[in-house]
Symmetry: C2
Subunit: 530 residues, 2 copies
Amino acid sequence: MLLTGKNIIDNNFSSLGEETFRAYDPQTREYITPEYFEATTEEINKALGKASEDFEYFAGTSHFQRAELLESIADEIQKLGEILIERAMQETALSENRLQSEKSRTIKQLKLFATVLYETTWLDIRIDANDEGLDIISRKDIRQLHIPIGPVAVFTSGNFPLAFSVAGGDVASALAAGCPIIVKAHPSHPGTSELLAKAVLNALNKCNLPSGIFSMLHGASHKVGQELVKHPLLKAAAFTGSFAGGKALFDLAMQRKEPIPFYAEMGSINPVFFLPGAIHKNQDKIATDYVASFNLSVGQFCTNPGISFLFDNDDAISFINKICSQTQAAPSGAMLSTQIENHLKQQLEKVEKVTSCVLLAQGDAPDNYIAPALYKINADEFLNNELFHEEFFGPVSFLVMLSNEEELFRCINALKGQLTAAIQMEEEDQPLAKTVIEKLKFKVGRLIINNFPTGVEVCHAMHHGGPFPASTNPLFTSVGSASIKRFLRPLCYQNFPQALLPEELQNDNSHHIWRLVNGNFTQKSIKNEF
Amino acid sequence: MLLTGKNIIDNNFSSLGEETFRAYDPQTREYITPEYFEATTEEINKALGKASEDFEYFAGTSHFQRAELLESIADEIQKLGEILIERAMQETALSENRLQSEKSRTIKQLKLFATVLYETTWLDIRIDANDEGLDIISRKDIRQLHIPIGPVAVFTSGNFPLAFSVAGGDVASALAAGCPIIVKAHPSHPGTSELLAKAVLNALNKCNLPSGIFSMLHGASHKVGQELVKHPLLKAAAFTGSFAGGKALFDLAMQRKEPIPFYAEMGSINPVFFLPGAIHKNQDKIATDYVASFNLSVGQFCTNPGISFLFDNDDAISFINKICSQTQAAPSGAMLSTQIENHLKQQLEKVEKVTSCVLLAQGDAPDNYIAPALYKINADEFLNNELFHEEFFGPVSFLVMLSNEEELFRCINALKGQLTAAIQMEEEDQPLAKTVIEKLKFKVGRLIINNFPTGVEVCHAMHHGGPFPASTNPLFTSVGSASIKRFLRPLCYQNFPQALLPEELQNDNSHHIWRLVNGNFTQKSIKNEF
């Protein structure tokens, strides 16, 4: 499959601009063909214009049509075969195994949203029918469901070239909701993005859906993303990436004449708490899993356990020995991009200047690879130095040594908002664990016991988000079926004749969908005999 | 009951500041005692500090305890008796009937949230248990519910001194969620606010709940509200009022180091569409209801039908005659404040300069009262003059005359985001109504047929909100049981032993609460036999 390097707008390949860039192979340190064309203002306008034009049609498609589209995209990605994995490996230096499993996850996500569309709990149907004679009742006939919000921009992530990319979770959830998409492709893997975009286009064409529903724009500079977020026809945006990037775009979205929801997932330091009983009883497995977790895919996960807390006692000595030797033996790797590598190196230079911070262990790494590194600090350093509250995006973790529980609680209070927090515990740790959980729950989106945070399950109950700065809106998840809620808004129908109501709100409920009727969940029809 | 004029913080009456202001009687045009003390920075810090201190405790109370609190507040308001209505009449010039019905609504709202707490659908419980053997399943045990977001500021409205005030819908929903409240009392009815705050305090004390859960701050200047929104311990805010006020505070909330959700409901022009069949068959009733709706409580509703659309045909002539005579006969009244009155007068001065705008009818009004007014413009004027897209907060409505359906559709496309749109129709209008509905649904939060928009039912299915500028977040309602969602966020538990899970997430479900288990709604327990 030939890569064109062009933007995809309205089913056409478009290259109106003069600025171009190329992808970069982090392993060979060479640029890769073809040239990719930065989208121009004219192209951005066209993509938004078409998305807006086709929105009403797409919003009116049945849930079955949208489910078919998602399944068709999954099929087309499957059909791409090895070329997708090869190009992604070249552009990201991620391993074949990792990318194969990411591809499976991408397909699973698309299919999950198809099943979500076949049922309808996400519509959050509420009916206060004035004929049911219940206690809390409206004097008028009021019915509500959710409708798509409008054209959505998706800023794809650098570290998940498939699962948080052109056909990733944000796109799947927004398409499921009925929103046209404008993808801003990540400049570090434009070829992978083009392959995926063609799969989406093929699916759209097979499903006879209008071409304005999906566009993909390229841009290595910030300009394309900024113009996209400021465009008056855009109604919401989703972003996965760094705090600096997410916050800058969030600010632009809020400063618009019409502010729009901007859902940014910006990573965090994901604290891990090693409770004494666990370190006493189970330190071998914990040491292995911890070091594996912070080194997975060269540590390039937003859920990377970047900081951990350990009580300074006899068990700690042998545990530290174990995590040190595991770290020394852990594999090194090339990072996703030189930009990411340079940022990490700058952070580590600052770390070296902190006198109380000790490098406990470091792995080996050939040229161009980054070695795993484990550092030790004390609680005071964590409490007083902003540096250790920053995300280190890479195979690095800091161990904070604690003298007592009071220090632990002070450290928890000092935490910023986090995606996750994990507790390693045994039965005898329960009293302390309970206190720790009560304090942590107001700081994080996901609490974990005896797992590590990497590996975000795609399911109904997952929450991938958390209080700022982990995300810009702690009420919403970017992973799992609940992520569709980001792109839907309530619409209320008052005093409508049956014939003008959407099918899901009519008295007859022959599809047996779940509805909150006068405050009670039911799959029954509403009696129509008054 | 003696009014103190003081701020209420931590169960104490506090007056540290030197700035004071008094309420104003819009009927007599005189200031009313006592002096009210503007909250100082120290007082704001104290209120937030206490709220933050008591948050963990309040979040941990049972739903039954919170339901009891809401019911107790309702009882205490009931007990206030006539003094509440008398003071509110004096401060707002609203009629006794209107205020009595608003009091009932306030009590109904509190009790609605108590019933919401007795069931638990608002927790949005999701469980992906790895022992259920279903198809889309998590490899890990993942469970989710919603928790309170933290201390919430409530900016009360000027036009609803009871129902959107100190113990109104925002406060009821945030307390139900488990969030401590800091109320910024509206400076036009501080006495009414103090009476209500005492009712809340009494209820808190009777329920043995800590005093940091509720504070009320006074301020006639913008300073108190601004400091409140910028305070780092605040986690969310709700506002009902003008676009200028809401948008200014929204901007501050977004510019914080940690941006927080700011839910502002800012009113709109609530278009009404008179379809030909309805005007042919039912013009008497429609004329009466329309004029009554835009004049209700001197037109001071965010759902006031400020603009209406009518096809220029033979039926229109008699209809216009009817609405003119109704308008002339409609009662006048004193407005809530001189500020509101002056703003309306300034807008009407601008209207008088628009040459194509015709004053169709005006009622009589004694000194200090505002007379109902009905104006006529053509579609071009509506399409090209920003003035007619502004909310006129008062007894004023504009009739837009349409030559044809194409003009109607252009006018719909030109509408900004609205709280509501209403259609007056008969059976024969259905084809046109269908098209109008399809276009309107992307512009509004609530669609209404053959009712007028004033009168927002407090129920489960109500959506009171809409696309910007009607509100700052179209995903949430400020009226009805769904408004609790604004103050809750998801929290996910991964791989937790049963003993450490919140009761609602444990396998055993002996309270039969609704849960989404592996994607299916059920009230059953989870089998625990693997």
